[in-house]
């Protein structure tokens, strides 16, 4: 366990020193501060727009950070040959991979926590939201964090056998597909004109692909007019789902990385 934690803490340190990540984070934070002023551009209720916009900024920024952070992680170590010094120590490849992954989500968690805190602060100061409203609002970033952990595991998995550029588009594509496929599948299954074959195909794909849309819980937070049934059970279910899927990708990554020549 110790080697894993050592690699993870080193990875966090590296991540927060990377300028490109800090710039992305800075842009996200700037948008979060500017967001309250943009509500006037819209005809919609200011609170609704602000909620939607802030959650959108956090999600988008986190996704970009998650991909940029993880796609270079393994290839950089190989390219700079630092991996040899690590693997020559009593550290196995699986510990290296898991350590890198934990470090990535640790850094990601810190950055997301910063953005979420700013959002909470803005709502508390400008919108005079009470504790229960703020707690409701905080649910979405927590779910986004699990979503980004899943995204990071997708990128880590691909980084064991493809180049960073390809990985960037692969992981991004998977995120887009996994976010869109549930509503798309819903459209297909509820449309009476859809062929049975297409429905079965959509069902299979939707079951196999990592489903990022499970974590898009912002709709009832932005428009709070629907009671969510068994909310706690749902969050628990999607968290376990995320852990299972992260497990699949990490084990898959370990198996591939283990066979790779470095």
């Amino acid at each position: 366990m110790k080697p894993i934690l050592s690699i993870a803490s080193t990875t966090i340190g590296e991540a927060i020193r990377r300028k490109v990540l800090l710039i992305i984070l800075l842009i996200g934070v700037l948008f979060l501060f500017v967001a309250p002023g943009l509500g006037v551009l819209s005809a919609r209720s200011e609170t609704t727009v602000l909620r939607g916009m802030m959650l959108g900024i956090i999600q988008l920024t986190s996704a970009v950070i998650a991909i940029v952070l993880t796609v270079y992680m393994i290839p950089n170590e190989i390219e700079r040959r630092t991996i040899y010094t690590i693997l020559s120590k009593p550290v196995t490849r699986w510990q290296f991979l898991v350590g890198k992954y934990l470090g990535a989500i640790g850094a990601l968690g810190m950055m997301m926590a910063l953005m979420s805190s700013i959002m909470i602060l803005v709502f508390w100061r400008l919108q005079s939201a009470d504790v229960s409203q703020l707690a409701d609002l905080a649910k979405a970033p927590v779910m986004y964090f699990i979503q980004m952990c899943l995204l990071a595991s997708v990128a880590i998995f691909f980084s064991t056998f493809v180049s960073p550029l390809v990985n960037f588009f692969l992981a991004g594509g998977m995120y887009l597909l996994g976010s869109l496929f549930s509503p798309f599948f819903q459209t297909l299954s509820e449309n009476p004109n859809t062929a049975q074959v297409a429905k079965i195909f959509a069902l299979v794909v939707n079951t196999i692909l990592p489903n990022f849309s499970n974590y898009n819980v912002q709709n009832p937070i932005i428009n709070p007019n629907q009671t969510i049934q068994n909310e706690g059970a749902y969050y628990l279910q999607v968290t376990i789902y995320g852990l299972f899927y992260i497990g699949i990708l990490l084990v898959g990554g370990i198996l591939i990385f283990d066979r790779r020549e470095v």
């Binding site: 943009l38 551009l41 819209s42 005809a43 919609r44 609704t48 727009v49 909620r51 939607g52 916009m53 959650l55 959108g56 900024i57 999600q59 988008l60 196995t92 490849r93 699986w94 510990q95 976010s179 869109l180 549930s182 509503p183 798309f184 599948f185 819903q186 459209t187 509820e190 449309n191 939707n206 079951t207 489903n211 849309s213 499970n214 898009n216 709709n219 009832p220 932005i222 428009n223 709070p224 007019n225 629907q226 009671t227 969510i228 049934q229 068994n230 749902y234 279910q237 999607v238 376990i240 789902y241 299972f244 899927y245 497990g247 699949i248 084990v251 898959g252 370990i254 198996l255 283990d258």
Partner: protein
């Protein structure tokens, strides 16, 4: 490999794969969107109304509900829009975040199009905004009004081909926002005011609006008005009584001016309704007593006759007689394809009906009306017992394409739509109205009385065939003036009746029969 054995890793892989699939799909039958009914409940602490989705009776609870089923019930971005068949790019828009912000900005943009009169440009914005942000009720309500009312020809006749789309938008708004009364009310209003003929539909939607706890009390009166238009004054009275009880209790709690005004208005409406129910013979009819002596007896002969002269290509002059002297009569004239068909589920379906259309034929919001269909509807105002109106259809060929060969020219009068001073004589269902030639009771459904008797809905209706060649003054009609008229039409140069005899309409204000010359 050092560390865990490969067999262990494959084992973990298998367990995780099965586990995620099980969590995603659940066990047993997974309810879909259509298996749930939205129920509005009030949070007693906050006073906020919310929707709870409850399984319909007969649908079993799943043994273990999967994530997908729960997500599509509670978190999906407005399922019914997705189910309506959005394209992937529209879905992408809807899911890319910032939906409410983009929708709001687009709506501001639409406002500038309103100002410049660029109404066509507003339609796609309305659609996009309702997709992006289906909770924005203002857009649904304004969009519905815009589609239903604002597409007009040069003479301000609205394009009725759009009304099914407006209603479809209203229905979608109701599905998307079941927690509030607003879209139910707006949809009811479209039936009540714009369509102004199919009152059971107005009643249906207003009744649904009343079930929503946030409905403004003053607007609830409209249900009673719709009941009266539908020929059910007893149901109107029940509604008023219920509203009065509520208004009185509100006034007892808080003697504010608004509460007093509401209570007094309802009391006044009840008084008026009771007087009308008695004087129009409705109570006697219900109790099976003879109608002698009531305002609707004897039935008044309206003496309808009509003539249509195609004075130029696509220009029609309507003339005719209507023996009712008091101002307020409007005779509906419709010129439409003989088979008013639209493409539904891949096949052409005739949605035409006498002097109207099956307005409710579409559940899909199609902002492109059937452009190859022709449907002109207008009102002929009666003055001095005659009507005369020139209708010019030549300036708007897209609205009146005349692609078919055969058309119906229809004249229609429904006493349910009449103003109260005329309805006092004609009754709620036309009991006090007759016509030697064109009285029909098979055009619109009648009213079932509590005693089981069927009260037929009397209307004046006649339809005359007319061809495209006649309307366009082509072929044999190039040099001849086509004239279509009812057999009883009598030519007269005199538009004013010298001996202006008032019909006997006892007014509520004078308390009895009006003077007869």
């Amino acid at each position: 490999m050092k560390g865990p054995k490969k067999s262990v890793l494959y084992g973990i892989l298998g367990v995780c794969f099965v586990g995620q699939g099980l969590l995603m799909r659940g066990l047993g039958y997974q309810p879909s969107q259509s298996d749930y009914d939205p129920v509005t409940v009030e949070n007693k602490k906050t006073g906020v109304f919310r929707v709870v989705k409850k399984l319909k009776p007969g649908v079993d609870k799943p043994a273990f509900q999967g994530i997908y089923s729960s997500w599509s019930r509670d978190f999906a971005p407005r399922k019914t829009v997705a189910a309506a068949g959005l394209s992937p790019d529209q879905l992408l828009f809807a899911l890319a975040g910032f939906r409410e912000m983009i929708a709001g900005i687009l709506w501001v943009r639409a406002d500038s199009f309103f100002d410049t009169g660029n109404y066509d440009a507003i339609l796609p914005i309305i659609r996009l905004v309702t997709i992006l942000d289906p909770s924005q009720i203002d857009v649904y309500a304004t969009g519905m009004w815009h589609i239903g009312y604002n597409f007009t020809d040069e003479e301000q006749r609205s394009d009725r081909r759009y009304i099914p789309s407006a209603l479809a938008l209203g229905k979608e708004g109701c599905r998307q926002n079941p927690e509030t009364y607003e879209m139910f009310f707006e949809t009811g209003w479209m039936w009540y005011h714009k369509i102004d003929d199919d009152y059971p539909q107005a009643v249906k939607w207003f009744e649904q609006a009343q079930t929503k706890p946030d409905m403004i009390p003053a607007r609830k009166n409209l249900l009673a008005m719709a009941f009266q238009r539908d020929g059910q004054p007893d149901a109107a009275l029940d509604t008023y009584s219920r509203l009065l009880n509520k208004a009185e209790s509100e006034f007892d709690k808080d003697q504010a001016f608004g509460n007093r005004q509401l209570r007094d208005t309802i009391q006044n409406n009840i008084d008026t309704t009771l007087v009308r129910m008695v004087q129009r013979g409705w109570v006697a009819e219900k109790e099976g007593r003879p109608l002698t002596g009531y305002d609707t007896d004897p039935a008044f002969d309206v003496g309808f006759s009509a003539k249509a002269t195609i004075i130029d290509s696509r220009v029609i002059k309507f003339e005719g007689t209507w023996n009712v002297l008091p101002v307020g009569t409007r005779v509906r004239v419709v010129l439409r394809d003989k088979d008013y068909t639209v493409n539904l589920d891949g096949k052409d379906t005739d949605v035409g009906k006498p002097a109207g259309m099956n307005w409710d034929y579409s559940n899909d919001v199609n902002l492109d009306p059937p452009r190859d269909r022709t449907f002109m509807m207008d009102q002929l105002f009666v003055r001095n017992r005659r009507f005369s109106r020139k209708v010019d259809l030549s300036k708007d060929p897209t609205m009146y394409p005349f692609t078919e060969k055969e058309y119906w020219l229809e004249f229609y009068y429904n006493p349910r739509s009449a103003p109260p001073h005329i309805q006092d004589k004609f009754g709620y269902n036309g009991e006090g109205m007759t016509d030697k030639n064109f009285l029909r009771n098979d055009v619109r459904p009648g009213q079932k009385l509590p005693n089981g008797k069927e009260l037929p809905q009397k209307v004046v209706y006649v339809r005359l065939p007319i061809s495209r060649d006649m309307i366009l003054r082509r072929g044999e009609w190039q040099d001849k003036v086509p004239v279509i008229k009812t057999p009883n039409y009598v030519e007269t140069a005199n538009n004013y009746d010298k001996d202006e005899t008032l019909i006997d309409i006892p007014s509520l204000r004078s308390g009895g029969g009006a003077e007869k010359k």
